[in-house]
């Protein structure tokens, strides 16, 4: 089993699990349907493609910076008559950072890694107007881990530090504990349930199944402070070369 980790950071994100029509809500953390949609888009799957392989992956997310919820009031107007069309409220998470992970069979996970590294459809954080502010893949191949999902999420350094490295406030500390939301194994009792396991993204009949979620905590480890780290030459791995070796637990 291999785990793929994605950093989801951007000024605005929006992860709706029951967002329809005029109330476009967002959950407090990325949904399974949102993240799998991002992966499916990276692979270039059409909206009506089969998703069973993706839906079968074990999914979890760590909340590195929870952010705050903002409401965006959206109007549209009929150009010819000037009449207002139905108003809608769109909710966003502002200022949030998440670490999302999917665990599955090695070849498939590596294929997804390669897809995210050169995506067919451009990625966005839940809504098209929310592009990521940082690359989704962690630096130095840390996005591919041979650890199981929960351990991989636990062992990855905290990603919630603010601003560019050279202008980062010197005293910023990660919170002592980070919340994690993980797919609940079938034999356990879930803490919460959400209808966000995608069965089909086909816009004429989107379908989602219920998903049991377990809440867990992780101790945050700040990234090791190395002021020259970002000046090192970049890894030479490109999308046309085979996927890099797995990062192992060497923190």
């Amino acid at each position: 089993m291999t785990t793929l980790l994605l950093r989801l950071a951007g000024p605005l994100q929006s992860w709706g699990a029951s967002a329809r029509f005029v109330q476009r809500t967002t959950e407090n953390a990325p949904t399974k349907s949102g993240v799998l949609g991002l992966l499916a888009g990276a692979e270039g799957r059409p909206r009506d493609a089969d998703l069973s392989d993706l839906a079968a992956l074990r999914f979890g997310v760590r909340i590195d910076r929870p952010g705050s919820r903002i409401r965006d009031f959206h109007t549209a107007e009929n150009r010819d008559t000037g009449r207002a069309l139905p108003l809608s409220d769109r909710y966003y998470l502002a200022d949030a950072v998440f670490l999302a992970g999917v665990e599955g069979e090695d070849t498939f996970i590596r294929r997804l890694y390669t897809a995210v590294d050169a995506p067919r459809f451009l990625p966005y954080l839940g809504r098209r107007s929310c592009p990521p502010s940082h690359p989704l893949l962690l630096q130095d191949n840390a996005s591919l881990s041979s650890l199981p999902l929960e351990d991989a999420l636990r062992n990855t350094p905290w990603q919630g530090g603010r601003g560019p490295l050279s202008h980062r406030p010197p005293r910023e500390q990660p919170p002592a504990e980070l919340n994690m939301l993980l797919d609940c194994p079938p034999q356990d009792t879930p803490d919460i349930q959400l209808r966000d396991t995608p069965l089909s993204y086909n816009p004429s009949h989107r379908r989602y199944a219920m998903r049991g979620i377990q809440a867990r905590h992780a101790t945050a480890s700040a990234p090791v402070h190395d002021p020259t780290a970002h000046l090192r030459p970049a890894p030479t791995a490109r999308h046309d070369s085979p996927a890099p070796p797995l990062a192992t637990d060497d923190f």
């Binding site: 965006d72 959206h74 009929n78 069309l85 966005y124 107007s129 929310c130 560019p164 004429s204 999308h239």
Partner: protein, 398 residues
């Protein structure tokens, strides 16, 4: 084919204004880096960009986004063949139903007399986005298959599978520039959806920004000397900002949406290249017009950076996650440019993107911090160079 993705980064000063407001009339905002920022929604700027297209592109390259599709198509039909004018509305309705599968309804509007107005025509239930070329193609079908303008004949003809498919193909090809860039969602016919090739981010101020309120009074010109009070009083909320604006365009997707050149002598990359440079120019020079007569906030960007990527686009808003502080010299632009230059270099080196082609347009001495990123060009040269770089990429693999 080598992948081509364009990202656009803009710094723009906007004086006191209220270009995009929420339901209480307050300028929109968002928290970023723990501080409140001015925000202009992506929808607002896309709308401004679409409006700007009208100055840059001929009408046939653009789409019409309206619920009143029946009326618009009827006009196209009459323009092509005035003899069918009497039945134009009926013909338009038939061909639209067949082509899009959408339901068209006559809206119930109350007039003073209590019944609906006599001039009400059927409308679609949502904004339908059709290119002018698609409307022309539909008009041709309506005229050609109706045996001289008879709606019943047209209806019967469109029952035939082949004819129906032809009508559907008319709205599924020859998309306009704005449809290709911003996409199309047809609620009741998902097969007609067009995936947007452009992503536009919400613009955010690079600094902390609080909303201010302007208390105003208006004098009643006709009030006599004895009445010294105001005719009315009110408040307008506003803010001012140095905005970071960002958009990305998937050039390959744009090329797929638009197809190859229409004329045989035209290189296949021409439609996509033209659409891209029009988008760049329109996005750079447009400004949402909210309360424009109150604030006259007409400004243009001080900095435009365009990058050509071959894997994924990269947003540099992270440069401003720590807000730009107030300095004794005042202004945010100089520090923003220095910060942006450092952030771009850091990120690109770290992720191995630093060889990607870059074009820089900048105005003023305050922006010199960005001088090392690439040679500084005029806007016109920038558009030309980006255009030829992109068409070269598209041609090399097309």
């Amino acid at each position: 084919m080598r992948r081509s993705i364009i990202d656009i980064h803009i710094l723009q000063n906007v004086p006191p204004s209220n270009i995009n407001r929420d339901d209480t009339g307050t300028p929109k905002s968002a928290y970023y880096g723990g501080e409140r920022r001015a925000r202009v929604s992506s929808q607002a700027w896309k709308r401004a960009t679409r409006e700007q297209f009208k100055q840059l592109l001929p009408p046939e390259e653009l789409g019409v986004r309206t619920k009143r599709v029946v009326e618009v198509l009827a006009e196209h039909i009459v323009k092509r063949d005035a003899t069918v004018a009497d039945n134009a509305v009926k013909l338009a309705e038939e061909v639209l139903t067949a082509a899009t599968g959408s339901t068209l309804e006559t809206p119930k509007r109350k007039t003073k007399e209590g019944d609906q107005g006599s001039d009400t025509l059927p409308e679609s239930k949502y904004l339908m986005f059709l290119s002018r070329r698609q409307l022309d193609a539909l008009a041709d079908i309506a005229i050609g298959s109706s045996g001289g303008g008879d709606p019943a004949t047209l209806k019967a003809e469109l029952k035939d599978k082949k004819n129906k498919a032809q009508a559907r193909a008319a709205v599924d090809s020859r998309h306009s520039v704005d449809i290709a860039l911003f996409g199309r969602m047809v609620a009741d016919a998902a097969g007609l959806n067009v995936e947007a090739a452009a992503q536009v981010a919400h613009a955010l101020s690079v600094h902390r920004s609080e909303v201010e309120s302007d208390y105003y009074t208006a004098v009643d010109d006709q009030s006599g000397d004895s009445e010294s009070g105001a005719g009315m009083i009110g408040t307008v909320d506003f803010n001012s900002a140095t905005l970071y604006r960002y958009a990305a365009v998937d050039v390959n997707e744009l090329h797929r949406n638009l197809g190859s050149g229409l004329a045989p002598e035209q290189p296949p990359s021409t439609p996509a290249t033209k659409a891209l440079t029009s988008f760049l120019e329109a996005f750079i020079t447009s400004l949402p017009t909210g309360k424009i007569n109150t604030f006259a906030h007409h400004t243009l960007p001080s900095v435009v950076i365009v990058k050509l990527r071959d894997r994924w686009p990269l947003n540099f808003v992270g440069a401003f996650e720590t807000p730009i502080p107030k300095t004794s010299a005042g202004g945010f632009l100089r520090e923003s440019c220095d910060r942006l230059a450092a952030h771009i270099t850091e990120m690109e080196q770290a992720y191995g993107l630093d060889s990607d082609p870059t074009w820089v347009f900048r105005v003023g001495e305050e922006t010199k911090g960005l001088a090392d990123l690439g040679s500084t060009l005029t806007l016109e040269t920038l558009l030309q160079q980006v255009g030829s770089a992109v068409s070269e990429r598209l041609e090399s693999g097309a």
